[in-house]
Assembly symmetry: C2
Homo-oligomer: 412 residues x 2
């Protein structure tokens, strides 16, 4: 770990790490504001002394690191000690698929310890909780952040508390409970769960992993950019399609590439393309009007179901600074994309992750070459994370006896 400081993404003020961490602050002490059902104000980023780092870090050496292993990134992570327990190693896989004559790069983060990209944030948050001697960690979640925090806590020996909306998919709920986490199901939305987690964490002095609210969630997710850089041998894609709910994955990717840019390892940050569901598209609407309006949401893609994206402003910034775009796709398009990816490319992912393929097809149909040529799709969660979504379209086939099936098949 090198020295680092916190900087507010709204007012731009900088704060030493002692002030923030010893006082258990998360948002900007000057302008931070967490209001019910509103995007957060004063979300902070963490910055390093890149000049100092520059003299220690070498591009070629960095490229020889093992992707998915936080230990190699220790100079660029805000924790004192990174556990060498291989159970917290990630399993990112980067490969190409061919679709209608195009080569598409895939960043597949579905085989991580708890089967989603969220492990990146949970690992960093849990390591920090341990560093601060806080035995209890908590988060709100649509499902993946919660099952991730539950799993990583179980591995690292922390107690976890997870606040979820009542429409959480069964698989994610049982995953959270199996890991021994205490689950609180709220008769309300994810947005309600988020606010409740903040209130309770503050009163109970639990370490709060709430996404965006805790700047380490952004720092954790930024490691996806490092893994992409390494796995592509430094030849990063021109654009990146990213599912966007609260907007922390996209902000994390921006931050990771920003670090690499500051270190002189890359020449520019890929266009970031935020993908939302039509039934939960606050970020897309903000991009068009510069206004946040709270609308009720409705989508099958639970991981990107967020009426008030907590990291809205930083996510919008990430898209704009990289000359990216935000777009939304229908539940039907998402479902078709999910089916297609599994059956034709063996990529078995949950609906929110499949949304990026639907968005890719849409962008390609519209002819936006700079976005779809040399593009990478971020696949953020495994298909088994939401069995319910799958069983809706994979209906039980008719059941026959031995002789019936034999004669049906033999006659063909």
């Amino acid at each position: 770990m090198t020295d680092y400081k916190y900087k507010c993404s709204c007012c731009g003020k900088e704060f030493g790490k002692e002030l923030i961490e010893e006082n258990f602050l998360y948002l900007c002490p000057e302008c931070g504001l967490a209001e019910r059902n509103q995007p957060l104000k004063g979300v902070m980023n963490i910055f390093y002394d890149y000049d100092e780092l520059d003299s220690n870090l070498d591009r070629n050496k960095f490229l020889r690191l093992n992707a998915g292993n936080f230990s190699g990134y220790k100079d660029l992570l805000p924790v004192k000690h990174i556990d060498d327990d291989i159970r917290i190693n990630l399993n990112p896989r980067i490969y190409n698929i061919n679709h209608a004559g195009d080569t598409i790069k895939i960043f597949d983060d579905t085989l991580n310890p708890t089967l989603s990209l969220k492990d990146r944030a949970s690992i960093l948050a849990c390591l920090k909780a341990r560093e601060l001697d806080i035995p209890d960690v908590c988060t709100s979640s649509t499902g993946n952040a919660g099952s991730s925090l539950a799993g990583i806590s179980a591995i690292l020996g922390l107690r976890s508390h997870v606040f979820v909306p009542s429409r959480i998919p069964i698989s994610k709920r049982v995953q959270i409970q199996s890991y021994g986490s205490k689950i609180y199901i709220i008769d309300g939305t994810y947005d309600d769960a988020f606010d409740l987690c903040n209130e309770v964490a503050s009163a109970k002095k639990w370490y709060n992993r709430n996404t965006a609210y805790n700047p380490l969630t952004i720092e954790g997710k930024k490691t996806a950019a490092y893994d992409i850089f390494i796995s592509c041998s430094g030849e990063i894609p021109d654009s990146l399609f990213v599912p966007a709910g609260d907007g922390v994955i996209i902000s994390g990717l921006y931050k990771g590439f920003y670090d690499l840019l500051e270190l002189g390892f890359i020449g520019k940050i890929p266009h970031l393309i935020a993908v939302q569901a039509k039934g939960s598209n606050a970020l897309v609407r903000f991009m068009e009007s510069d206004k946040f309006i709270f609308n009720k949401t409705d989508t099958i893609a639970d991981s990107i179901d967020a009426a008030a994206p907590r990291n809205l402003y930083m996510a919008v910034d990430s898209v704009r600074k990289t000359a990216g775009i935000a777009l939304s796709v229908s539940d039907n398009e998402i479902l078709e994309a999910q089916k297609y990816l599994a059956a034709h490319h063996g990529i078995f992912c949950e609906p929110s992750a499949a949304s990026v393929f639907a968005a890719y097809l849409s962008i390609r149909n519209q002819g936006f070459e700079s976005y779809y040529k040399n593009a990478m799709l971020c696949i953020t969660g495994n298909g088994l994370k939401d069995t319910k979504a799958l069983s809706d379209w994979n209906i039980v086939p008719e059941i026959y006896n031995y002789d019936e099936i034999r004669s049906q098949l033999m006659l063909k």
Copy 2:
């Protein structure tokens, strides 16, 4: 690939690979017999010219290979070409946990492409099907072998057909269907599905991955032993606890260690400890009486639910030759083990995999030091493979509104 030959595990006769493969034979041409609801006779193994290999393979070089990557093992696998598509790489993780003062080694194969150890067999079978120019592959399955074949086929561009019993867990069923596989649900048991698959494959000239029946399933699973050898830096455990249904995983582990022994890389093969469910324990009963009796099965651990273990004789041999034992544990012990592993060690696995921890506890209570000291548990399938098993014990907690949860927590 070096030269290899097939050898019958019953009559001991050897056959050239051309004879077997060009005629699409699987069992021994002399004594092979696949009868309804009976263990197979004449299951074959594949052997290499170890003397020739010995001069090319070096222990230290082998130890520097990447575990989970078939390419490194190409001299010891019976296929001409191993695809370098990283999507077929495995993600084995080997680590220690502490339990009641003991260190237990874990071989965790739950983060493979389709989340179970079965991928090892499916990869090899699919590569062989491609080599033989057969576009259709098939298998019977309690769930994991089928979802594995479906996923690996989708990655490698083959058509797959999967025969399953009606009690297949939902998660495994939808995984098979999502990958675009044709699924046939039989009103019967896994054992019926096995026999039906054999009949149909033979008539339709599909490549048959049926476990044990196809010797490549044993050769594929043996790679787990290589991965263990590499991940332990050559210091393999003294005993290995392995879930046993058809008995192919345990036979594969035996074969992998046998290869290493022949090459002079290890001094002896670990005691192999076959773990079954009390409700499906044909192997345990055979060990005691030397008789196979077909009994109806009943267990929550679907992956080891097999009334007629197809590889019974080879599995028994593997246990006996390594001075191991076979034992069975109750569904209740399995369930408790599943809960404990997830909550206390962050190991999230399906019931059949958890059975090995239950067996470890039982062996430890009985004081069999040579079996439980320096032991390794083989965790063969992810927890999300069977959501139903999890939702039975992780019941939905009561749902409260925002203020109710807040006041409940704040008052504590």
